[in-house]
């Protein structure tokens, strides 16, 4: 088996399990769409109560969707190796000889697919229930930015996942405090240009902020390549940094974990 096949075959196998696992119980699918929608509705009603311009509805819908992917990175990818360790699957994975990054690639692909299906349903709810308005003219640019953002985010997820191997329960707590701060900084419900400059600078270091801003500009404000090229460039740079960094951190931590005998140590 050549090197690429050795990476891709376990990845597709893991993605298969994740996708079919996600659809195994149909009612979960319903709830996974409805739960974020309930919270999204609260924000939309709050904006309507404040007499906010209509574009804010689209901001909230897109912000909620992008944050769904972030939560998937945190909980569906980052903490998975921790739970695999707790349930005793991790040692089996490592012993198969498949590279661990390909396992994570599979989780990322499966997670992206599952979250995309749920996000599509939320967009439809946003359009048909809350009358969110989007401009389809620049959809291709929005999609390019969207997929670049996902690539960068899931590369970060790979690094998070390896941290969970070392830090155990601390990693779970870290996940818990990565929700609200990222939601705040990424501008989940508002454009980030309302922030003071130094907060904007910090926020711009995160792919989700750049991606969300780019997708909003393309789909809500209806701007084209001349206003989006910088977003695309920044995201490409982030991918080139985060992906190898994720692989590097993972390999180092697995190596360290094996040396210290912590890879299968539970309840740490």
């Amino acid at each position: 088996m050549n090197r690429i096949a050795r990476i891709l075959r376990p990845a597709f196998a893991r993605a298969y399990v994740r996708i079919f696992g996600g659809f195994r119980e149909k009612s979960w699918l319903f709830w996974e769409v409805i739960l974020p929608t309930i919270f999204m509705s609260s924000i939309i009603f709050a904006y309507e109560n404040l007499d906010a311009p209509k574009i804010f509805i689209g901001f909230v819908v897109l912000g909620t969707i992008m944050m769904n992917f972030w939560y998937n990175v945190l909980w569906g990818m980052g903490s998975v190796l921790y739970w695999e360790k707790e349930t005793g699957n991790l040692e089996v994975y490592i012993l198969t000889g498949s590279p661990l990054p390909s396992l994570l690639l599979g989780m990322a692909l499966g997670g992206m697919f599952n979250t995309s299906i749920r996000s599509l349903a939320m967009i439809l709810i946003g359009i048909f229930v809350f009358n969110a308005e989007f401009t389809p003219a620049y959809l291709p640019y929005a999609l390019i930015i969207f997929f670049l953002t996902l690539f960068a985010l899931y590369s970060m997820g790979m690094a998070f996942a390896s941290l969970h191997l070392i830090y155990g329960r601390k990693g779970i707590r870290l996940n818990e405090v990565m929700g609200e701060p990222i939601s705040f900084l990424s501008g989940q419900y508002y454009p980030i240009n309302i922030f003071p400059t130094f907060i904007q600078s910090i926020a711009s270091l995160m792919p989700i902020t750049i991606g969300l801003d780019g997708v909003r500009r393309a789909l809500i404000l209806g701007v084209g390549f001349e206003s989006l090229w910088l977003h695309m460039t920044l995201l490409v740079v982030m991918v080139f940094i985060l992906f190898p960094l994720g692989i590097y951190i993972m390999s180092k931590i697995v190596e360290k974990g094996r040396k210290d005998g912590r890879l299968i140590l539970r309840w740490i």
């Binding site: 739960l35 009603f45 709050a46 109560n49 906010a52 311009p53 609200e180 705040f184 419900y189």
Partner: protein, 279 residues
């Protein structure tokens, strides 16, 4: 009834909750951990208000006060509520200790309520911080011009009673289903946030949803709290709000007591106390 023994038990459960929540790190890190999410949460809603003010150029301090106090006070209720509901999930799925709790503690209903008390204490501290911080961020700290402590403390205690019983009710449903337990708790928190007059008055909701909002005591509780925090927050009939709140609280205590006993009975009969997701 041996009151002293019950106090000892409740204190022990609160201590257990503290250890379970904090023993993954050192105390200073734990303190930072408990403040991070509430601080950023109130920052998010402050900027929701600021964003509209920035774009429309129109400031409405009453709306800012309404949102910030709503989010801050909901954090108090939510902390206890989630603390109670997640006890079932974490003890059954993660620690696998629910069976020992059931055997070792004389009353599961009181055990769950006691587990929530620690979270209410934390919630009190973080909610106070949230309200101050949010009002400072939105430039409306002057709205806190009243702060009548006695009614506020009374309301906090009443809030603990009704919300903890709501938590026990949801936990009762959660015992019955390991598959849907976490979903039930998330859904319940979301619905309470949507319908509870947290970010907006219920008149902002579509008319067909509005009657549902009156099921929960959240509206009366939050409006009374706001009334005792600011002289600029006007309510139509203060007596009626108190009356409704007390009646709903008593009703919840009674209904939840019966509901939980029924759920506990069925769970034991069907042997579902330790049915985890692996089943």
């Amino acid at each position: 009834m041996d009151i002293k023994s019950w106090f000892t038990r409740i204190k022990a459960v609160m201590w257990l909750t503290f250890k379970e929540q904090s023993n993954w790190t050192k105390l200073p890190f734990y303190i930072a951990y408990i403040f991070i999410n509430p601080i950023f949460e109130v920052a998010i809603f402050s900027y929701v208000y600021i964003a509209v003010a920035y774009i429309s150029g129109f400031l409405d301090p009453t709306n800012a006060f309404y949102m910030i106090t709503g989010v801050g006070l909901f954090n108090f209720i939510g902390s206890g509520l989630y603390g109670i509901i997640w006890t079932i999930h974490s003890e059954r799925e993660h620690f696998r200790t629910l069976k020992y709790t059931y055997l070792g503690f004389p009353n599961l209903h009181i055990y769950l309520t006691s587990r929530g008390l620690y979270h209410y204490l934390l919630g009190l501290i973080t909610s106070t911080t949230m309200i101050f911080l949010g009002l400072i961020l939105t430039g409306n700290i002057s709205m806190l011009d009243k702060v009548e402590l006695l009614p506020i403390i009374t309301l906090l205690l009443i809030g603990v009673v009704w919300s903890s019983q709501l938590g026990v009710m949801v936990a009762g449903s959660s015992i019955y289903s390991s598959e849907y337990g976490p979903l039930i708790s998330e859904a319940f928190g979301g619905i309470l946030f949507l319908l509870g007059a947290v970010l907006y008055p219920i008149e902002a909701l579509p008319p067909f949803i509005q009657p549902l909002a009156y099921i929960f005591p959240t509206i009366e509780w939050l409006d009374l709290m706001r009334y005792y925090l600011s002289s600029q927050f006007i309510v139509a009939d203060i007596g009626l709000l108190w009356f409704n709140l007390i009646v709903k609280t008593i009703a919840y205590v009674g209904v939840v007591y019966i509901y939980f006993r029924i759920m506990e009975y069925f769970v034991r009969r069907r042997g579902m106390l330790e049915v985890t997701l692996h089943h």
